[in-house]
Symmetry: C2
Subunit: 149 residues, 2 copies
């Protein structure tokens, strides 16, 4: 419970910082801890508020800067769920999933489908396109909301 990083993603981040000659600051640790204590989707502004109650104050500017670093080392991804601001989400290294987004209750369902991935790879091959990543968002009504409608 002391200094040891319990979470593997935190270790990844620390290693990344070291490899870049960047520093491990209280603020950066606070941000990572907060994000990975409750993996899911969140907005930058939400993090600002979640970190308000913390022992370590973290300014909005630092949160944005840290999110950018986390993106560079692929621990989080930016997400556009159709709302005004950007959402972020934790990415399990090596994993990938797409999203079903409910327009009624704003819930987000993650899924992964191999057939889909293969077809996409095939399409890229046909276009001579070298994919680095992709994002599929399907909007509509989740099962709960479509029943209530």
């Amino acid at each position: 419970m002391a200094g040891k990083p319990e979470q593997p993603e935190k270790a990844v981040f620390l290693r990344f910082l070291k490899s870049r000659g960047l520093k491990v600051t209280r603020q950066r640790e606070a941000v990572v801890n907060e994000i990975f204590s409750d993996s899911g989707h969140f907005e930058a502004e939400e993090l600002v508020h979640r970190l308000r109650g913390n022992r370590t104050r973290v300014s909005r500017a630092t949160i944005y800067r840290t999110l950018e670093l986390l993106r560079e080392c692929q621990l989080v991804e930016k997400l556009d769920l159709g709302q005004s601001g950007s959402f972020y989400e934790y990415v399990n290294p090596g994993e990938h999933h797409d999203h079903l987004i409910c327009l009624q209750c704003d819930s987000v369902i993650e899924f992964h489908n191999e057939k889909l991935e293969r077809t996409q790879a095939e399409i890229c091959r046909n276009f001579g396109f070298q994919e680095t990543h992709h994002s599929l968002r399907i909007f509509g009504l989740c099962s709960k909301c479509s029943q209530n409608a």
Copy 2:
């Protein structure tokens, strides 16, 4: 060359306005004409500039308001290409396509693939999800850029 609407999408828009009790103004016509004279991807700000040289001045506010109307009648769609601002694109009624986005030269390739669509429909069915629309963006290097790399 006179009053007749040459473009079918303009006719759709006019009909939509009428059905809503909205007015056909010089500004709205100018926006539609400009968009459909060169179908493709564009930003709101770009439209502002493209319309500067026009006989009819159209303010930024009106452009945003008109784009919203065009979205409501499904003639244009908002697009997130990863850049800061929103892009828009003309939508051929009844058609749908996805995008390959080159991170190097910012070019956008459109494609449509039936197998992909079927797999997506299958996924939705499995989740009891009622799709209204979707967006697949594949990021990477286009064939030209991957050769030069």
